[in-house]
């Protein structure tokens, strides 16, 4: 190889510069590590299993919305047979009153902005 002593350091410098954003972010970035939502709940069990809620809560809330507003149903039979009112503020947020640490923790990490709180009222937090 001609000019070995120039090409190899050149390639190394190029690779370092190109991958700079990746390793800089790994070392000093704010987005590293998974979000850690604080699960505070007043009841022992959620309306569905934890895994289901983790991945499908947005679908469940949309189905609740349509069932209540458009079909006039108000109650939901949970996985273990209990009846709960289908309400974001009066059911979900009564049980999990810490919206900022519970909802926002993951939503901010994923950069999703659900518009629930444009109208629905979250419990007061200090």
């Amino acid at each position: 190889m001609y000019d070995k002593e120039k090409i190899i350091p050149g390639i190394i410098v190029f690779l370092v510069l190109v991958t700079f954003p990746v390793w800089y972010n790994l070392a000093f970035g704010s987005g590293n590590g998974a979000p850690e939502p604080q699960i505070v709940s007043q009841n022992e069990k959620c309306v569905e299993s934890k895994d289901y809620m983790r991945t499908q809560h947005m679908d469940l809330l949309n189905q609740w919305r349509d069932a209540v507003v458009r079909q006039g149903y108000r109650m939901y039979r949970t996985a273990d047979g209990a009846l709960v009112e289908m309400s974001l503020t009066n059911t979900c947020l009564q049980c999990h009153p810490n919206k900022t640490q519970f909802c926002d923790e993951c939503h901010n990490y994923m950069a999703v902005k659900p518009y629930c709180w444009d109208c629905h009222i979250a419990p007061m937090e200090n």
Binding site: Y73, R77, T89, W117, M124
Partner: protein
């Protein structure tokens, strides 16, 4: 393999049969595991309607503030002073404005200039529903003209269509919120915040819902409950034994702009 005529019809017939049965099976399965149920105490009707007794409803001494305030507090209706941005679910109009076709030159003394309580008429033939391009407003089976605020795109066709001015548009943000969506303690337009009921957001149309959410809890509408004069009655027009049917049988009633054919369901007893 050649398929002859006989074989083709056999296969076609059998697959149709299986297809139809498959659909039935699926429907039955879906019904048996329904997770959605109506509330227990829910008040139901085939046609909700309201009567306003104009002889008892005496707005002169300012008692209309009680029923209006009860409604607006329950539903987080903002009190905006700028008339261009005003939002209202119940309000008053002078008799001759509320009933322009019954504006006789000589009339019962009490009726002239009387402030009449007006709301959404929950028409049997609602023009607002016909024009809504997103089906954000529709007539429920119980007669209530409902709104889905999630779906409203703020085009305001319904406002143009409603002959009673019953719909208000949120020109400004009705409730003050912090950046992360928390409702602030100091509200410019809400005296009291009912956290059990949502507010609306800028760009959405709103109106009276006949207290649909309260009916689901077995409660009468907030204005009916708040009226101490007993001027408001709420009930099922399809039930011949209801209080409201007895009132309408006994008293002469008028409705707002009946000539338009919207069939309003608020009856004013005179």
């Amino acid at each position: 393999m050649a398929v002859d005529r006989r074989k083709f019809f056999t296969i076609a017939g059998l697959s149709t049969l299986v297809g139809l049965m498959g659909k039935e099976v699926l429907t039955v399965a879906a019904q048996s595991e329904s997770k959605y149920l109506a509330a227990e105490k829910v008040l139901t009707a085939h046609r909700w309607a309201m009567t306003v007794d104009l002889t008892k409803c005496k707005q002169g001494d300012g008692c209309e503030k009680e029923c209006i305030q009860a409604c607006h507090d329950t539903h987080n209706v903002p009190a905006i002073e700028n008339l261009k941005h005003e939002v209202k679910w119940i309000w008053t109009e002078p008799y001759e404005k509320a009933f322009p076709s019954q504006e006789n030159e000589f009339n019962k003394e009490e009726l002239i200039h009387k402030e009449v309580l007006v709301f959404c008429n929950h028409c049997d033939n609602p023009p607002c529903v016909r024009v809504c391009p997103t089906q954000a407003t529709w007539k429920q089976e119980d007669g209530i003209v409902m709104m889905d605020w999630h779906r409203c795109i703020g085009c305001r066709y319904c406002i143009a269509a409603c002959p009673y001015g019953s719909r208000s548009f949120n020109w400004v943000e009705p409730a003050a919120r912090s950046e992360d969506g928390q409702i602030l303690p100091d509200q410019p337009f809400l005296k009291k915040v009912n956290s059990a009921f949502p507010t609306r957001t800028r760009g959405v149309v709103e109106k009276c819902t006949f207290c649909d959410a309260r009916l689901a809890k077995g409660l009468q509408p907030a204005c009916v409950e708040a009226c101490k004069q007993g001027a408001l009655a709420f009930g099922d027009l399809d039930d011949p034994n209801s209080e409201i049917r007895a009132l309408l049988k006994d008293r002469f009633s008028i409705r707002r702009k009946p000539g338009l054919g919207t069939q309003p369901q608020i009856y004013y007893l005179v």
